[in-house]
């Protein structure tokens, strides 16, 4: 491929030289075999570990399958059963509640702190590290253990409550507050989103603010008219990934509350896990997984459609340096 293009460029008449050279440069990057060799690890993994399992799980969702015996076709029965399963609707409600509280809370905290830190002050790397620390450890089982203790009956939160004169309460053992402790645990880990916002803020050209100052814009107006639009692609990215992750939340629900009390924290992923590996209803769980896929797909699509109205793309920054 390359052996052919190089002599061709040499033979080209001087007048056409520029154009041909440009063309061959483009041609140089064209390497079908090398390209496929480089992406082979991902492509093979995708076909074997993702595409094939996706097709299979769609098939399994129409079967009764316990892992011990071969799958038996039962048509739409799993989906019919799900539509009458009170626990399914409960887990859906709990998950939605968790998503619409934890994601905005996390993003808001991340944005506010990123705005505060986006200036030349000393000690910024210290603040950044402290704020990032919870994201660093927050996904671990250890922190779930910590949370269970902090919000437990004799935990730190109740000690605080007693000090300010509020009656202590079993935060994790009460259905109305258990989910709130998990939302707080998620919001506590806003540091990773904050770092991404901070990187985004650094790319907003300073001239825009200067021009706005000359025109006498208030800080609030600058925020609404400059910062938010310039940051909106990053907000969209954080929003979409935050929602997708929140829909799949498992570890803290499993360890801090284990779905209880009275199923008030039975997240969708936990419900699915219990069906699949608790009662070995693999077909039923596959149907649940497909419902989750559709829900996440719809949520993402809504985000993308809505983004047309609020996300601002600077056409010049298309080919970012």
């Amino acid at each position: 491929m390359n052996a052919q293009t190089i002599p061709a460029a040499d033979k080209a008449p001087p007048g056409k030289n520029m154009k041909t050279v440009a063309k061959t440069w483009k041609g140089r990057w064209n390497a079908p075999l090398a390209g496929y060799l480089f992406i082979a690890p991902w492509l093979l993994g995708f076909l074997i570990l993702q595409l094939w399992p996706i097709i299979q799980s769609f098939y399994l969702s129409f079967t009764e399958f316990s892992l011990l015996e071969p799958a038996r076709w039962i048509g739409l029965k799993n989906y019919q059963d799900i539509s009458q399963d009170r626990l399914f609707f409960n887990s859906l409600k709990v998950t939605f509640l968790y998503v619409i509280t934890s994601v905005p809370l996390k993003l808001l905290a991340a944005l506010l702190v990123a705005m505060l830190l986006n200036r030349n002050i000393r000690g910024i790397s210290f603040y950044r590290t402290i704020i990032y620390l919870p994201s660093l450890i927050g996904g671990s089982l250890a922190v779930a253990v910590l949370w269970r203790n902090i919000f437990g009956l004799n935990g730190f939160i109740n000690q605080l409550a007693i000090m300010v004169g509020i009656a202590p309460k079993n935060w994790i053992g009460t259905p109305s507050t258990a989910l709130g402790t998990l939302v707080l645990l998620t919001a506590w880990q806003f540091g990773s989103s904050m770092i991404i916002f901070l990187a985004g803020l650094k790319q907003v050209p300073g001239e825009l603010y200067e021009a706005a100052s000359v025109d006498g814009a208030t800080p609030f107006r600058k925020f609404v008219r400059i910062t938010l639009p310039m940051l909106s692609p990053v907000i969209l990215f954080n929003l979409i990934m935050g929602i997708i992750n929140a829909f799949q939340m498992f570890t803290s629900a499993f360890v801090v509350t284990n779905g209880g009390p009275v199923n008030s924290t039975e997240m969708f992923a936990l419900f699915l896990y219990n069906k699949a590996f608790g009662s070995l209803q693999m077909g039923y769980a596959s149907a649940l997984a497909w419902i989750l896929l559709v829900i996440i797909g719809i949520a993402t699509a809504i985000n993308f459609i809505a983004s047309k109205y609020w996300v601002f793309y600077e056409t010049e920054t298309e080919g970012r340096k």
Partner: protein, 278 residues
Amino acid sequence: MTGVLKKQNWLVHILMIVFCFVMFYPVLWWIGASFKSTAEISLPSLFPKVWLWQNYTEGWNALPKYTFTRFFMNSLKLNVATTVLHVISASLVAFGFARLTFPLKGLWFSILMMTLMLPGQVTLIPQYTMFHSFDWINTYLPLIVPSAMGGAFFIFLIVQFIRGIPRELDESAKIDGCTWFGIYLRIVMPLTLPALITVMIFSFIWGWDDYFGPLIYLNTVDKYTVPLALRMFIDSQSAVPWGQLLAVSLLSVLPPVVIFFLAQKHFVEGIATSGLKG
């Protein structure tokens, strides 16, 4: 003007210090509680009157048969393997997507981006039955082998980074007769070091924290990773020795924290320059 700015900065410092204190308080409490007796944990002081260092040694040896040395070594072996595979594969695949042109490239890249949104639950059961039929249950293979595909997020992160490296460098190497692999190995790969370090940190931390994978694929205690062992610690005693449990838990989050501090400079650079702009 500068006076106003200075005043503002002081306000920011005060706000940030208060804020950081609130954020960090649970960790402070955690450190204090890890030295307390169970009775003292429920008292409202931050640090214990008597420091029980033995919480650490007793917690470390609390489980029958194996000490936490075993579980830390298991976690370490597993995560070094997955991290190395992630970094190598993601970097190769990213070079292919960022620099080479080949048929259907656009389609494959869109699919790669779409898999970022794919919930793991959809592939979970067929993957489990597949690994079951390979006789891989209760081995580390189901946890290690998938990382050889590089991971969509990691590939995306490095692609973004490579796009920021001027092509002139590879072009001159191409004229000098360098092969694609040579360009990758000698020119592009060394320049992506901050992105590779970012991938390394993320892969190690997420792998270290991963609870779900080991939970479904490992069944015997000798193969347990640290999170599974911690969970067993909670379940094994009817009255949980909280001081000991919190002590070992605290040790269990140290490896990610240490790695983060060692590589912090590159990490922030890797995130900032790859932009993560979607």
